[in-house]
């Protein structure tokens, strides 16, 4: 059974938008424009994606899937790179990281027969993995930068005691990974207790039996968890090196030569 929401009731969503809009108006939050603009923009974006997806789902999987995955990875790379624009090779590193994560996850899904190679399954699931990996890389980059800024003295102390950059940075990398992974660990701990995860909610609404919805949710949750970990580890392990020069001296963020 396929459920659908009638178009006229969708239009009534405007009532919901009116609530924040009225609040913004009464309290003069200066957000009226933002609320209207983001609602219109969001609606248009989703409509567009709906159209594109309908078109891609009709294409052969061997054409549609690579196109959509490439677009998703490129957009995610452009977005995540903003968090590390001071660092060299940031674009290519994130790009390689996201492609790697997607290849690993996709091979697992297909290899173990968890999903089939159809756009309907590969694209939304990959989207979740890529989106979460993008956020994790951004978080890791921000944290890495602030760790190197704040722990400068300790890093100098470690180097002056004879530590290699890898040794000296160990503590900062540990903190970075902690910060990047803890939200996901917490999410995994409370999954289903606080809120039903989005994918499961969607499947249940679409008429799928809860137990099947949970199976999908498990696949996606664990895939997200491991790809987020992989992304954060990858980006930290590659990027910390640029904070040092070949003479094992610590550089300032503004002195890190940007040649990437």
């Amino acid at each position: 059974m396929e459920r659908d929401i009638p178009t006229y009731s969708l239009l009534l969503l405007i009532v919901f938008v009116m609530i924040p809009f009225t609040i913004a108006y009464i309290y003069q939050l200066g957000l009226k424009k933002d609320i209207i603009w983001s609602t219109i923009r969001g609606t248009l974006q989703l409509l567009l994606i709906g159209l594109i997806l309908t078109y891609l789902f009709d294409l052969s999987p061997l054409v549609g899937i690579p196109i959509m995955l490439s677009v998703m990875i490129l957009v995610a790379t452009f977005h995540a790179r903003k968090k590390g624009k001071e660092l060299p090779y940031i674009f290519i590193t994130i790009l390689v990281g996201l492609i790697g994560v997607e290849i690993i996850v996709l091979s697992m899904w297909l290899g173990f027969g968890m999903i089939s190679f159809t756009p309907e399954e590969v694209i939304p699931m990959s989207g979740m993995v890529i989106g979460n990996s993008m956020v994790a890389m951004g978080l890791a980059l921000e944290r890495l930068k602030s760790e190197f800024e704040q722990k400068r003295g300790k890093l100098l102390a470690a180097l002056s005691l004879g530590a290699t950059p890898k040794h000296a940075a160990h503590m900062s990398i540990k903190k970075t990974l902690n910060a990047a992974l803890i939200p996901n660990i917490d999410q995994l701990k409370t999954i289903g207790l606080v809120q039903l995860p989005g994918m499961m909610t969607g499947l249940i609404l679409g008429g799928v039996a809860p137990i099947i919805a949970i199976k999908y949710q498990l696949v996606i949750s664990i895939s997200i968890f491991s790809s987020v970990s992989l992304s954060a580890i990858f980006i930290s392990m590659v990027m910390y090196r640029f904070f040092f020069n070949k003479q094992m001296q610590l550089l300032n963020l503004q002195d890190i030569k940007k040649d990437g």
Partner: protein, 233 residues
């Protein structure tokens, strides 16, 4: 001279200009001068925390670049202005350097604590529980744990109160003599310079103005610049 441990020949780096001098074993060199004169920059050239843009630094008559960097930093130990301890126990801090070189034996921690006049039972304490003076002592012990031949001190007592300064100075002099260390120290205190140093290097705006016996420098300065500086401080 055969016992030259460090030679700086025409070294340039940032503000530093044509720095030339020779340091002999067991010298205790005090680098002093006005703020921004390049004292810390100069100190960091001794263990390659920084490198010259021009000129050469010789360590035991060999270009300093020819040494393995971690090994060089192990034998030319640096104590920073702030302790910058690692967020672990005192013992973990002491072991940090030696564990990088697989060189640690039972009893070294206790000996180090004795050197810097801290109670042995502090070894298991977290560094957060220590006072400022105690932290600086641990920082000193952590550098000494690597058994350096040369000790670089970057204003090691500037963050401490008078009582602590005096006590740390006494310990410093004792352990420098006991271990036959060569010392290079940056300080603002001319009293401290006199108590610890044997040689002095006065720099101003990156240039060596006077170099020689510390008492000679402080009591009979040759240049107007140094006379003025001593008059002010």
């Amino acid at each position: 001279m055969s016992d030259a441990i460090f030679q700086f020949n025409q070294v340039n780096r940032l503000v530093l200009q044509n720095i030339t001098f020779t340091l002999h074993e067991e010298d205790r060199l005090i680098i002093f001068g006005p703020s921004g004169a390049g004292k810390s920059t100069l100190l960091h050239l001794f263990n390659r925390m920084d490198d010259p843009e021009q000129g050469e630094v010789l360590f035991h008559n060999k270009r300093i670049e020819q040494y393995d960097i971690p090994q060089l930093r192990r034998s030319v130990g640096l104590v920073l202005q702030q302790p910058h301890l690692f967020p672990d126990t005192v013992l973990d801090n002491l072991k940090f350097g030696p564990s990088l070189f697989n060189d640690w034996e039972e009893g070294r921690a206790e000996r180090l604590m004795e050197y810097v006049n801290l109670p042995i039972d502090y070894l298991d304490k977290s560094v957060e529980e220590l006072s400022g003076g105690e932290k600086q002592r641990v920082s000193l012990a952590r550098t000494l744990a690597n058994k350096p031949d040369v000790l670089l001190l970057d204003e090691p007592t500037s963050a401490l109160d008078d009582r602590n300064i005096e006590a740390i100075e006494e310990d410093l002099i004792r352990l420098i003599e006991h271990n036959h260390l060569t010392v290079v120290m940056v300080t603002h205190s001319m009293d401290q310079a006199k108590r610890i140093g044997t040689k002095g290097l006065y720099i101003e705006e990156g240039q060596v103005i006077e170099y020689g016996d510390i008492n000679q420098l402080l009591e009979n300065p040759n240049t107007d610049q140094l006379k003025q500086f001593l008059h002010k401080s």
